[in-house]
C-alpha cells in the first residue's frame, strides 16, 4: 500500500483533510462530492486511510450496469446507516462505449432522486478522464456538487498524458511544433508505452483515439514514415469500422495519412485524401469549422508543389477567411496563412506581393507573440529569400542570422529547425560566393541531423546533398559523387522510388556526371529524374522542365542535336505555360529560349530564321 504522506502532492494532502472534515461535519445532511484520482492505487490508499479513521463508510463498487447506481446503493443501505457513501468503479459503466447515457441522466437527476434517500455525503470517485468528461456533459450533476477533491501523486507523467488538449489537429500541430526533438521522442515512448498497455480505467475509446492521433502526428513530424504508415493505416481501419466513413475521427485520420503521403511524395493520393477529409469536416461541422483552415493550408501547399497556383491561392484565402472570422485579424494563425500565401507568390514570381504579406505576417507576429518567438523564424527566413531573389543581398544575412539565433534559443543547438537554419545560411553564402563560410555550416547541420535521426534519414540525405552541391561548385567531384550516391540510397530507402527529393538528388548526380563528361552515366539518371518528376508533378511542371533542360544539354554535348531540339522546345513550352498561368514570367524562360536558339544555330539556322522560329513559339516575348 502507498504511504499517502510521502507520495501525495501538498494539494492532495490538503484534500485528504478536506474529505475527513467533510465526513465529520456533514453527518445528517446529504451532499455530493466528486473525488478525482490519478491512479487506482492512489484511490485505494486514500479510501483505506479514510476507512481507518471513520466508522461505517459504505463503499459501493459499481459492477452491475443493468441497474441504476441508486438502486445498487439502496440495496446495500438497507442494512446500515453510513457516515458517508463512496461510489467507486463508475468507470466500468463507460467502458468501450463513448458515454453511457443512462449514467449521465442518472447523475443529472441526482438532486431530485437521490437526496431524499440519504443523510450523509455521497462521494463519487472518478478517474481523471471521467471527471473531465462528466464535467462537460453532465452539467446538471456538476451544478449539484458541493465539493471537488483532487488526488494525485508527485510523479507527473501520467498527469501530463491525461491533461492533453482535446482532439483538434490544430492543437497538436502547435504543441508538436513547439516541442524539442528530445521531448518529442520522450513523448513518443510515453505514448507507445501507454497505448501498449493502457491503464485499466482508461479503456475509454475517446482517450485512446486522441493518443493515437497524437502519436501519428509525432511519427510524421519526426519523419518516421514507415512506422507512421502502418500505424495510421491501422487506425484508419478501426475508425472506419467503429465510426463509419464520414465521422470526424475518420477525417482526422485521413488527414494524417494525407500528410504522410504528401511528405513521402505520393502527392495525388494525398490530394484525394485531403479533399475527402475536408468534405467530412464540412459535413459534420459546417464550412466555418476552425479545423478546416489548417486542412485548407495543407491542401494549398500540396497544390503549390504541383503548380496549381490558382486553386492553391483560393484555398489559402478560404483559410484566412476562417481565421479572420474566428480569431480576428491580429492572431498568429492568420500570419501563418499569410506566410503560406507569400511562399506561393514567391514561387510564381510575385515577389512584391510576397514581400508585402511576409512583412504583414511578421508585424502581426511581433505584436501578438513578440519579435523573438520561434513561430516567426520561418517568416524571417522566407523574407530573407525574397531579398535574395530581388538582389538586396545586404539585407539577407542579418535576417538569416536572426532566424538561426531564434531557432537556437527556442529549440536548442540540436534541433531540426536549427539544422534547417544553418543550411539556409550556408546556401546563402554559397549563392554569394563566400565559399569559406559554407562548409562549416553545412557540416554542422549534418552533424545535428545525424545526432537526431541516425545516419540514414531523409534529413541527413538532404544535408549530404547540400554538401555535395557545394563540392561540385568547388570541383571536388569524387567526394560529391560519394555523398550524392549515399543521399540517393537514403531517399530510396525512406521514400521508395518516387519522391521529389530523390529526383533532385538523382538529377544532381547526373549533373555531376554531365559536368565531368561521363555522359553514359549521366543519361540514365536524367531519364530517371524525368520519369519521377513527371509522375509526381504532371507534364507541365518547372521541375520537370529543369530535368528536361539538362537532358537537352546532354544530347547537345553528345551530338544528338535534333533530339535536343525537340526537348528544348518542350522546356520552353512548360515555362511559357507557367508564365501564362501565373501572369509572371518564369525566371528560367529566357535561358530556355536562348538554349533553343543556340541549338537552332548549331543546326545551321541564321539569325533571322532563329528569330522567326522563336516568335512562333513565344509570340508574347517579341511584342
Amino acid at each position: 500500500m502507498i504511504d499517502i504522506d510521502t507520495i501525495l502532492t501538498d494539494e492532495s494532502k490538503q484534500n485528504f483533510n478536506h474529505l475527513n472534515k467533510l465526513i465529520e461535519i456533514s453527518e445528517g445532511t446529504c451532499s455530493f462530492a466528486v473525488a478525482t484520482f490519478q491512479t487506482i492505487e492512489i484511490r485505494n490508499s486514500i479510501i483505506s486511510n479514510i476507512n481507518a479513521i471513520h466508522k461505517n463508510i459504505l463503499i459501493i463498487e459499481i459492477t452491475d450496469s443493468s441497474r441504476s447506481i441508486l438502486d445498487q446503493v439502496l440495496l446495500k443501505i438497507k442494512y446500515h446507516k453510513p457516515t458517508a457513501i463512496f461510489i467507486t468503479n463508475i468507470e466500468s459503466l463507460v467502458t468501450n462505449n463513448h458515454t453511457n447515457i443512462n449514467l449521465i441522466q442518472e447523475l443529472n437527476l441526482s438532486r431530485e432522486k437521490w437526496k431524499r434517500h440519504f443523510q450523509s455525503p455521497v462521494i463519487f470517485w472518478l478517474p481523471e478522464y471521467l471527471t473531465t468528461i462528466i464535467s462537460r456533459i453532465a452539467r446538471d450533476f456538476w451544478a449539484w456538487i458541493s465539493h471537488h477533491l483532487y488526488f494525485s501523486d508527485m510523479s507527473n507523467w501520467q498527469k501530463r498524458i491525461d491533461d492533453l488538449p482535446p482532439i483538434s489537429n490544430n492543437d497538436y500541430a502547435e504543441l508538436i511544433n513547439s516541442m524539442s526533438h528530445e521531448d518529442l521522442l520522450n513523448r513518443q515512448s510515453e505514448l507507445e508505452q501507454w497505448l501498449n498497455n493502457p491503464p485499466k480505467y482508461s479503456q475509454l475509446q475517446d482517450i485512446i483515439d486522441r493518443r493515437k492521433n497524437e502519436l501519428a502526428c509525432i511519427y510524421i513530424h519526426t519523419a518516421q514514415y514507415v512506422k507512421a504508415e502502418s500505424f495510421i493505416l491501422n487506425i484508419l481501419e478501426t475508425d472506419k469500422l467503429k465510426y463509419g466513413e464520414n465521422h470526424p475521427n475518420t477525417g482526422i485520420t485521413l488527414n494524417n495519412l494525407a500528410q504522410l503521403y504528401f511528405n513521402t511524395g505520393r502527392i495525388f493520393k494525398a490530394e484525394q485524401l485531403m479533399i475527402r477529409a475536408i468534405e467530412i469536416f464540412k459535413s459534420n461541422y459546417g464550412k466555418d469549422y476552425i479545423g478546416l483552415a489548417s486542412a485548407y493550408l495543407n491542401l494549398a501547399q500540396l497544390y503549390k508543389t504541383i503548380n496549381k497556383f490558382k486553386i492553391a491561392e483560393s484555398y489559402i484565402k478560404k483559410a484566412i477567411d476562417i481565421y479572420d472570422r474566428y480569431y480576428g485579424e491580429d492572431h498568429h494563425s492568420i500570419a501563418i496563412a499569410y506566410n503560406v500565401l507569400a511562399q506561393l507568390f514567391q514561387a510564381t514570381n510575385r515577389l512584391a506581393e510576397a514581400e508585402d504579406l511576409l512583412t504583414k505576417a511578421i508585424s502581426i507576429g511581433i505584436k501578438t507573440l513578440g519579435k523573438d518567438n520561434s513561430i516567426l523564424a520561418p517568416w524571417y527566413n522566407n523574407l530573407a529569400m525574397i531579398y535574395k531573389d530581388t538582389n538586396r543581398l545586404s539585407e539577407v544575412e542579418p535576417l538569416l542570422l536572426r532566424t538561426l539565433e531564434i531557432d537556437k534559443n527556442a529549440y536548442g543547438e540540436i534541433h531540426p529547425n536549427t539544422a534547417l537554419s544553418l543550411n539556409n545560411l550556408g546556401a546563402y553564402y554559397e549563392h554569394t560566393g563566400q565559399m569559406s563560410k559554407v562548409e562549416p555550416l553545412f557540416i554542422q547541420a549534418l552533424e545535428i541531423d545525424q545526432k537526431l535521426y541516425g545516419p540514414n534519414h531523409p534529413a541527413v540525405a538532404r544535408d549530404l546533398n547540400n554538401i555535395a552541391n557545394y563540392y561540385l561548385d568547388i570541383s571536388r567531384f569524387s567526394e560529391a559523387e560519394r555523398l550524392l550516391t549515399k543521399s540517393i540510397s537514403i531517399y530510396e530507402e525512406a521514400y521508395g522510388m518516387q519522391h521529389p527529393s530523390l529526383a533532385t538528388a538523382i538529377s544532381n548526380l547526373a549533373a555531376l556526371y554531365n559536368y565531368s563528361k561521363q555522359y553514359s552515366k549521366a543519361e540514365p539518371l536524367m531519364l530517371r529524374a524525368i520519369e519521377i518528376d513527371e509522375v509526381l508533378f504532371g507534364p507541365n511542371h518547372p521541375n520537370l522542365a529543369k530535368d528536361l533542360n539538362n537532358l537537352a544539354m546532354l544530347y547537345q554535348a553528345t551530338s544528338r542535336t535534333k533530339e535536343a531540339l525537340s526537348i528544348a522546345k518542350r522546356v520552353i513550352e512548360i515555362f511559357l505555360e507557367f508564365s501564362r498561368k501565373t501572369g509572371h514570367q518564369h525566371t528560367n524562360l529566357i535561358d530556355s529560349i536562348n538554349n533553343y536558339g543556340n541549338l537552332l544555330i548549331d543546326l545551321g539556322y541564321d539569325r533571322t530564321e532563329v528569330d522567326n522560329e522563336l516568335k512562333l513559339i513565344a509570340p508574347e516575348l517579341f511584342k
Binding site: L19, L22, E24, I25, I101, I104, L109, D171
Partner: protein
C-alpha cells in the same frame, strides 16, 4: 463555542443549497429584477381571455423552482383565483429524460390533471372521445390497464407505472399516439374543457397547468443530436400550444439562447423567453449593490438560526464574507457551496485562505470544461458584457451559459458577466510567453 462538532454539523446543514426553509428565505427579487418575471407571467394569465402559452428559463440553481412555487401561490391566492395543476415531468418518473416525445408529455398532462381534479373535487371526468382513443393504448398494453373503468385517474396511474418499467411500451405508445396527435389534442381539449367547467363551478377564474422539469432534459451526449428539450419544442411546438387552458413550460437556459429560440419564443408570443437571472452584487462601477446586502443577509440569517456570532465562523468577518459573496457571482447556490466547502477546507473560524482553497477546486473544474473555442466568447463577454451572437457561435454561447461560465444579470438591461471562479485564459498567457 460549546461542542464545536455539533455546531459545525448544524451549520453545514443550514447551508444546504437544496433545502428551502421559510425562516431562512431571503427574497432576491429586487436585486435581480426577477419580480417582474413572475408578475409578467401572472399578468399575462390575468389579462388574457384566451389560453396563454408561456415559457420560463433560468440558470441551474438560480431558484427557478422557488419562483414557480411563488407563481403558483400568486395564482391560487390572488384576487382572481386560478386552479393550478403543477408537476415536474421528470420527478413524475414515467419518462426517459434523454428521450421525451410529445406523447409522453401529453399523457402526463392529462394524467396529472385527472389526478388533481379528483383530489380537489372528488370528481371523475368522463369523456367518451378520450376513452375511445385510450382504447388504442389499451391494445398495446400487455397488462390489465382498463380505461373503461370509472376512474380514469387510476388508469393513468397504472399506465405511468407500466411505462416506467417497460421501455418497449414507450415505443409502442409513441407509434400509437404520434400519428394521431391532432385527434389526441382534440380529445385532451374536450377533457380540459370539462375540467374547466368543474373548476368554474367552484368559482375559479380558470385553469393553469405548469409543466416543470422540461428544463432538466438537457442531456446531449451524442453531439450530432440536439438536446431532447430542443427537439421536443422544435417538433411539437404547435401541439404544445394547442391545449385549451393556460400552459407554462420551463425550458433549459441554453434552449432560451439557441438558434431555435426566436422561433420558439415567437410562437409562444414573446420576444424572448423570460429568464430568471443571477443576482447582481456589484454595479458596473464595482460598487456593492443591494444584492450584495441580500447575500449577506442569506449568510447572517443562517448563522443567527445556529445561534452563534459571525465572528465564530469567519475570522475578519467583513472581509471574508465579502470575498465569498464576490466569488459567488450572485449565484445563491454557489454561495452556499463555497461556504460549505470552506467549512471543510480549514480550521474554524474560516479565513480568506480557506475561501480561496475552496474556490480553487471549482476553478480547476472549469479548466476541465472549457475548450479553446469557449475562450474567444469569454473574452468578448469580459470586455463587452454581452455576447456577440452569430449563427456560428450559437452552440458555444449556449454552452457557456449552461455551464455557468457566463452568468446573466438583469437590473434594467440584460447583461452578462463572467463567473468569478473562471480560471485564467490559458491561451492568452501561452501566447504572451
Amino acid at each position: 463555542m460549546k461542542d464545536t462538532k455539533e455546531l459545525q454539523k448544524k451549520l453545514y446543514r443550514l447551508f444546504d443549497p437544496d433545502v428551502c426553509q421559510d425562516n431562512l428565505y431571503v427574497s432576491l427579487d429586487k436585486a435581480r429584477g426577477s419580480q417582474n418575471v413572475i408578475k409578467d407571467l401572472a399578468n399575462k394569465i390575468y389579462l388574457s381571455e384566451k389560453p396563454t402559452y408561456q415559457l420560463l428559463a433560468g440558470h441551474r440553481g438560480s431558484g427557478k423552482s422557488t419562483e414557480l412555487i411563488r407563481l403558483k401561490n400568486e395564482l391560487k391566492n390572488g384576487d382572481e383565483k386560478y386552479f393550478v395543476v403543477s408537476f415536474d415531468i421528470v420527478d413524475a418518473g414515467n419518462i426517459e429524460p434523454q428521450d421525451v416525445e410529445f406523447s409522453e408529455v401529453l399523457l402526463a398532462i392529462i394524467s396529472h390533471l385527472a389526478q388533481e381534479i379528483k383530489k380537489a373535487f372528488k370528481h371523475d371526468i368522463k369523456d367518451t372521445y378520450l376513452k375511445e382513443l385510450l382504447k388504442d393504448i389499451k391494445n398495446i398494453m400487455v397488462s390489465e390497464i382498463d380505461f373503461t373503468e370509472i376512474d380514469l385517474s387510476i388508469g393513468f396511474a397504472k399506465l405511468s407505472g407500466a411505462l416506467s418499467k417497460n421501455p418497449e411500451l414507450r415505443k409502442n405508445l409513441r407509434k400509437s399516439v404520434s400519428p394521431k396527435a391532432n385527434q389526441w389534442i382534440d380529445a385532451a381539449n374536450s377533457y380540459i374543457d370539462k375540467a374547466r367547467e368543474i373548476v368554474a363551478n367552484y368559482h375559479y377564474s380558470g385553469l393553469v397547468i405548469i409543466v416543470d422539469g422540461l428544463d432538466k432534459l438537457t442531456t446531449s451526449i451524442d453531439l450530432t443530436q440536439k438536446p431532447c428539450a430542443e427537439r421536443l419544442f422544435e417538433n411539437w411546438e404547435t401541439q404544445l400550444r394547442s391545449l385549451n387552458c393556460h400552459m407554462l413550460y420551463t425550458i433549459p437556459i441554453d434552449l432560451a439562447y439557441s438558434k431555435s429560440e426566436r422561433s420558439i419564443a415567437t410562437s409562444f408570443g414573446a420576444t424572448a423567453p423570460p429568464i430568471i437571472p443571477m443576482t447582481q452584487i456589484y454595479d458596473s462601477d464595482n460598487h456593492e449593490t443591494e444584492g450584495f446586502q441580500l447575500f449577506e443577509e442569506i449568510v447572517k440569517k443562517r448563522i443567527h438560526v445556529a445561534n452563534v456570532q459571525m465572528g465564530d465562523i469567519f475570522s475578519d468577518e467583513t472581509n471574508v464574507l465579502k470575498e465569498i459573496i464576490t466569488k459567488s457571482g450572485g449565484q445563491p447556490r454557489e454561495l452556499m457551496v463555497l461556504i460549505r466547502s470552506a467549512m471543510t477546507v480549514g480550521n474554524w473560524p474560516i479565513n480568506k485562505d480557506d475561501i480561496n482553497n475552496a474556490a480553487k477546486n471549482i476553478t480547476n473544474s472549469y479548466s476541465r470544461q472549457l475548450f479553446k473555442e469557449h475562450w474567444k466568447e469569454i473574452e468578448i463577454v469580459r470586455h463587452k458584457h454581452q455576447f456577440e451572437r452569430s449563427v456560428d457561435n450559437d452552440r458555444i454561447c449556449m454552452d457557456l451559459l449552461s455551464m455557468r461560465a457566463v452568468l446573466q444579470y438583469r437590473n434594467g438591461n440584460e447583461w452578462y458577466n463572467l463567473n468569478p471562479l473562471l480560471p485564467d485564459n490559458p491561451y492568452q498567457s501561452k501566447d504572451k510567453r
